[in-house]
């Protein structure tokens, strides 16, 4: 039934939010800065998951959520102390709940060992108190069953009903009850109004009307009783089965008002005949007992509900919009070109209109990007669990600090960041942090800290994973790399270059398999995933102080601010983020190194000149640098180089079209775009070009102090 599926999907989406609420609440409880409302909120979230799961028959989820909720309820009522042990069980239960939801989502019905284990631990917390599950709600009224030996079917019942004031007050209605009985069979009703006093003596709280109902029905006694389920303690009721031969007994003689109320806490002694306690208050609410302890002032927690109006939109629609805006940007570029060709580009009106169009296209693009933008919070929050599990597995004490959770990035990126970040965090716990003995020796706190931070930096998003561990053991990294043949033994490597060896495919060693990181995935996979997002990962490490991984990502996967450059008859695009400056070289700054090597003295550093014409195979040997333009670029890895090109055209936004999807991977090229004249231009990947060309030329790059 597809419409149920839709609700099921809705439920899972809701679960994501609820699980996050649980995790957030538990963390606040961890920090000790919580209020009772936090516990209530966690309880409610677990409870809601249970309620929804029950509606879809997800029994494993229901029973687990129930145990979890029961324990939280004890906490709420202060029947349970929030010990560190209890806290740990709650955290793991929160994780397990997430697992069970995930399993339910893919209809995975396999047994979950963690669930079994936690059920036992939760039960231990709860003690034997619970498990009064047995529903004691409907104990049949004591009745004269008369000829019980006979069949109860096809009987005649005589029902006497005298409504208490509370029956009306609770919104029940004797007329409705009688109509419900009519559905069961033939009904004859007699109203006994003999007790109705004169108006001056009439009190709303004293029942006076009595109905006597004869019911002939095939229904079972339990079905008749069920009609009165909601009112059994709000009226004087008797139900008697009548032997067809016996005459109508006076039902009052067998007033079956339950002699032993099941709800012993029902304080209202409404059974008493005669004058009940005078309740002259006309406001029914004043008479209604206040639900104890729950009377939270309405609005007191109004702040909790952030009422931003939201709608859920299928991501496909937003993607489609994004694509169309990409096309718009291209069309706008084409229009500009056409106007130029027609010689209209000097007309003030044309210029004004074109500028207006360009601005509007830019605004629309920004708005759509904002729709797709989501805070990194959802990724960061997941990492708490990863840290917890990693800490458990390694026996280390680890604290995760998150900074800048609200930083927004493209939705697609959020999803694709989860795996690499998970891996990096595990790596930090496993390899970054020292064990407690070593930490103690170096005077560090027992508990290691991993900081996950995010921020917008010059049009990009920067995410850092840093630990306060011992830093990279460079001697060991080098020896591993040499053993694996990744570097020539004895090669001269800068500390940064040694650190970067960690990202090489094949570095991750199987012989150092640990419970965690040794899952056959190395940091090379992380780098590949980040690169696929148009990002970079770099590493920085200080001995004894720790290691920091930095990921730099574009804000969107769809557009790029680029510099249009000319190489021979080709137009290419260089991402503007990499460009530091452009210049025409002169004799003072141009240096020749060896036979072919050329370098540019720029800001006190000699940086290699790379002729992009050669790199892309447009000319066999580097052209004369004096004839071209040099673009100084710096990558996120802080590698610098000067790219030699024939000319620079323009700076503009280009729409990224994946080359890999439409053609195949080309080294030195990250993607392609369509220009205003309809031609395709390749987008250059400066990092790759620098990396490959510096390794070709050996180490002709040298940093020297200027004016030395």
């Amino acid at each position: 039934m597809s419409d149920m599926d839709e609700y099921l999907e809705m439920f899972f989406v809701e679960c994501d939010e609820l699980l996050e609420a649980v995790a957030t609440g538990l963390r606040q409880m961890d920090e000790g800065t919580y209020e009772m409302e936090t516990v209530h909120a966690v309880f409610r979230a677990v409870h809601s998951i249970k309620g929804g799961a029950a509606a879809f028959g997800l029994t494993d989820l229901v029973s687990f959520a129930h145990k979890f909720e029961t324990a939280l309820d004890l906490l709420r009522s202060s029947a349970l102390d929030l010990s560190p042990q209890a806290m740990a069980v709650f955290h793991r239960s929160s994780d397990c709940l997430a697992d069970l939801v995930a399993a339910a989502r893919i209809s995975d019905t396999r047994e979950n060992a963690l669930r079994e284990e936690l059920l036992i631990e939760l039960e231990a917390l709860i003690g034997e108190e619970d498990e009064t599950e047995a529903d004691v709600d409907f104990v049949p009224l004591s009745l004269d069953l008369g000829d019980f030996g006979g069949s109860p079917v096809g009987d005649r019942y005589v029902i006497s009903l005298m409504a208490e004031a509370d029956l009306y007050r609770s919104g029940n209605d004797p007329a409705a009850l009688i109509r419900a009985l009519e559905k069961l069979g033939e009904v004859r009703v007699t109203l006994d109004a003999g007790n109705v006093p004169v108006l001056s003596e009439w009190s709303a709280d004293t029942p006076t009307l009595r109905w006597q109902i004869e019911l002939e029905t095939e229904a079972l006694l339990s079905e008749v009783e069920a009609v009165f389920e909601f009112v059994e303690d709000r009226c004087r009721l008797s139900i008697a089965t009548i032997d067809q031969t016996t005459e109508d007994p006076d039902p009052d003689l067998r007033d079956s008002q339950d002699p032993e109320p099941q709800d012993s806490d029902m304080a209202e002694p409404a059974i008493t005949e005669g004058t009940p306690p005078a309740q002259t208050s006309p406001a029914p609410s004043a008479a209604a007992p206040r639900p104890e302890g729950r009377a939270e002032a309405p609005g007191a927690k109004a702040a909790e509900a952030t009422t931003t109006a939201t709608i859920r939109v299928n991501l496909d629609r937003v993607d489609k919009l994004m694509n169309m805006i990409g096309e718009l940007v291209i069309k706008e570029a084409m229009l500009t070109q056409v106007i130029q060709t027609a010689g209209l580009s000097e007309e003030p009106e044309v210029v004004g209109a074109l500028e207006g169009l360009r601005q509007l296209a830019g605004d629309i693009q920004e708005s759509v990007m904002a729709i797709r933008a989501q805070p990194l919070k959802q990724v960061f929050q997941r990492m708490h669990r990863i840290v917890r599990e990693a800490a458990d597995a390694t026996g280390k004490q680890v604290r995760l600090v998150t900074v800048g959770e609200q930083t927004e990035v493209d939705k697609t990126m959020i999803e694709r960041l989860i795996d690499p970040l998970t891996h990096m965090i595990r790596n930090s716990v496993d390899h970054g942090l020292e064990d407690s003995v070593r930490r103690h020796r170096s005077g560090k706190p027992q508990e290691g800290a991993i900081t996950l931070s995010a921020a917008h930096k010059s049009g990009r998003v920067q995410i850092e994973v840093s630990d306060d561990g011992g830093g990279i053991d460079r001697a060991r990294v080098r020896s591993i790399a040499e053993d694996k043949g990744l570097v020539v033994p004895g090669a001269s490597l800068t500390p940064g270059e040694i650190d970067s060896l960690l990202f090489l495919p094949g570095f991750s060693s199987k012989d150092e398999v640990s419970a965690l990181s040794g899952r056959g995935v190395g940091l090379d996979v992380v780098r590949r995933e980040i690169t696929a997002l148009g990002g970079r990962v770099t590493i920085a490490s200080t001995e004894g102080k720790g290691t920091t991984f930095t990921i730099s990502l574009p804000l969107t996967l769809a557009v790029l601010e680029g510099m249009l450059i000319q190489l021979d008859d080709q137009t290419l695009v260089l991402p503007i983020t990499a460009v530091q400056e452009t210049l025409r070289p002169d004799h003072a700054t141009l240096h020749h190194i060896g036979a072919t090597g050329r370098a540019l003295l720029n800001r006190g550093e000699l940086i290699p000149i790379i002729d992009l014409g050669c790199t892309f195979g447009l000319r066999p040997a580097p052209g004369d640098a004096h004839n071209g333009v040099l673009i100084v670029v710096e990558t996120d890895n802080h590698k610098r180089a000067a790219f030699q090109v024939d000319a620079i055209h323009d700076q503009r936004q280009v729409v990224i079209k994946s080359l890999e999807e439409n053609y195949g991977r080309v080294s030195g090229v990250s993607a392609a775009t369509i220009l205003g004249d309809g031609k395709i231009a390749l987008i250059i990947d400066p990092e790759e070009i620098i990396t490959s060309s510096t390794s070709d030329h050996g180490r002709d790059r040298m940093a020297i102090a200027a004016n030395g």
Binding site: A54, D137, A176, D263, M266, S285, A288, P291, E296
Partner: protein
């Protein structure tokens, strides 16, 4: 004129399921996501019957019942409490708070409608 029902639950899933079942049975359905919102839309929804969840942020089901029972116009509107507990304790509390009756989650659509019919005497 169709019977009007106000359904209050903080879970959009449950709200959706309840609405779906009720609409299929020909009721006119209004929804709210907690007690505060429920009281807020009371006059607009002008319900013949209210179905409410118990555990909700801001104002729970008991607070809502108290509020409705305290109003002049809706003091005797039937209110059914939607609950996952089948324990007598909760039912007793619901009764004391002035609920007309209760519906235990999970419910079958037919069962939900039958209970409403019973309470409304339809």
């Amino acid at each position: 004129m169709p019977t009007r029902i106000l359904a209050i639950d903080d879970s959009p899933t449950i709200r959706g399921l309840v609405s779906r079942a009720l609409k299929a049975a020909g009721f006119e359905v209004y929804t709210a996501s907690d007690g505060v919102e429920g009281l807020g839309v009371l006059a607009d929804a002008d319900p013949d019957l209210i179905i409410t969840d118990v555990n909700m942020p801001r104002m729970d089901g008991f607070g809502l019942i108290e509020g409705v029972r305290g109003s002049l116009e809706y003091a005797t509107v039937p209110i059914l409490v939607l609950t996952t507990e089948s324990g007598s304790d909760l039912k007793a509390r619901a009764r004391r708070a002035g609920a007309t009756g209760w519906i235990v989650k999970p419910f079958e659509d037919a069962q939900l409608v039958a209970i409403i019919d019973k309470v409304l005497g339809r």
